[in-house]
Amino acid sequence: MAEQALQTDQLQVLLGENRRLKHAVEELSILNELARAIGASLDPQEIIGTIVRKSLRAVNAEQGVIHLVDIHASDPMKTLVREMSSSHEHEHFRINQTLVGWMQLNRKPLLMNSPRTDPRFSGMKWDESIRSLLCVPLMIKSELKGVLTVYNKKDGLQFTDDDQRLLAIIAAQSGQVIENARLNEREKQLVKMQEELRLAARIQIELLPKSAPAVAGYDIAGKSIPAQSVGGDYFDFIQIDEHRLAFCLGDVSGKGLPASLLMSNVQATLRSHALMGLTAQECTSRSNRLLFQSTSAEKFVTLFYGILDLRDHTLLYANAGHEHPIIVSAKRAVLRLSTGGIMLGMLEEFPFQNDTVALNPGDIMVVFSDGVTEAMNADQAQFGDERLQEVIMSHEDESASVLIESIVDAIRSHVGATPQMDDITLMVVKRNRG
């Protein structure tokens, strides 16, 4: 009798052991499948879908969701992947802020088989069909990155400590994958932004003159090299009538997209004013007023605006805080066009002035932005006015466009490997000799 009882006991022990082993094998097989699935795909959404499906199978639950936690986003909880265990229509359960808050504080698995009576969440309103839930944190380097939640153990059963342990292991295995999905999403956004920036740069290039106007007796060229993908410098040629051609070169404060948007605005304003036949001073004053009214004091534009009259070869100009253009004569005399006022957009009213200069045969006028003279090398030495004048003089017989390239080459050789900090813009107007 006693021997039979002993055998029965041993049998029970062995059966128990067998059950545990079987369970362990099942768990290992789930984890193994999970590891294989994670390794088999490069698509984060697909991998995360697999994680949720495997989790549902592992703990025999009805519904599972992975949420990303991003405390900086407007909606700090983003549903990443939701999976149902059957085709049966389920309500989509929403994880709520209280639960996320608990997870942020405790950073450990949460098992609730009767959520409505759970003292940790008293007063919280649960979706009616939630009977039980199991929730585990997805951590990367001790930071909560997401939450994996499964709802309603099937067949009216309750989630067990074994379920909790297994889901926690799955979460630990999945953390990095979830993080990759997040990074992948960010990268997609970044690619989109870069695409928009590329588009803005293309629009801006389209706005700059593609070629200089052909004017009898003159050789004219212009070029702008932005420091970033979009720039704040601009130049333009505007044919006012058959005798008059307007030139403008401007530099908007700041860089990048905001500067380029303001630049486009200034260009449109100046074009419309120029075609009204206004003088340089009137054009500058009106643009100043418009700009002042539409921007803060911190935003301003430097501008050189000149109108070349081909009948008497005079240049009527006004300058709003812009680098003084250089005229090198055929006899190598250097003249700076220094009449001017403050930058556009700073004060609503400012007495800008017209000034006139004659362009004689052989004269070379160079209008440039501060990115030319202030281009700095590794020793913090600027390219400077003197170097610019030297390059103009040593290339006086070259065409306007070759002169521009020569100046750009000289700047590049001056700065060496130092990256370009500011937009470089140049406009050259040469009156032919004799």
Binding site: D251, S253, G254, S296, A297, E298, K299, F300, T302, G321, H322, E323, H324, G340, G341, I342, M343, M346, L347, D370, E374, M421, D422
Partner: protein
């Protein structure tokens, strides 16, 4: 690069700027220093640019913002110590016509009515 604030007798605020102002943290520090004096209602402010070696358009924007903040309240902001390195920027931009510019801090201080 440094932005140092202090106060002088007669309720005058002083901001001393040194180094290169190129629109980074240092320019932000200058913007905050000016805003700090406006918040504390210092109606007289001296900006000593004696140690400034370079300033770009963003920095000029900050100076201009300071100018408008003070002018709007009928308060007084004076510049001093504009050295050779940054003189040409003030000449080209004609900011000397906008700001009340003095050679030295002493002269700026004496100029407050």
């Amino acid at each position: 690069m440094s932005v140092r604030t202090s106060t002088l007798d007669g309720g005058v605020g002083l901001i001393e700027v040194k180094g290169s102002l190129v629109g980074g943290e240092e320019t932000d520090a200058l913007r905050k220093a000016i805003a700090g004096f406006v918040d504390r209602e210092y109606s007289k402010l001296i900006l000593d640019l004696g140690g400034v070696t370079y300033l770009n358009s963003t920095a000029i924007g900050v100076l201009m913002q300071g100018f408008t903040s003070y002018a709007r309240r009928n308060w007084q902001l004076k510049l001093c110590g504009i050295n050779k390195k940054i003189d040409s920027i003030f000449v080209i931009t004609k900011l000397t016509l906008v700001f009340d510019v003095h050679d030295t801090r002493k002269a700026a201080l004496a100029s407050f009515a």
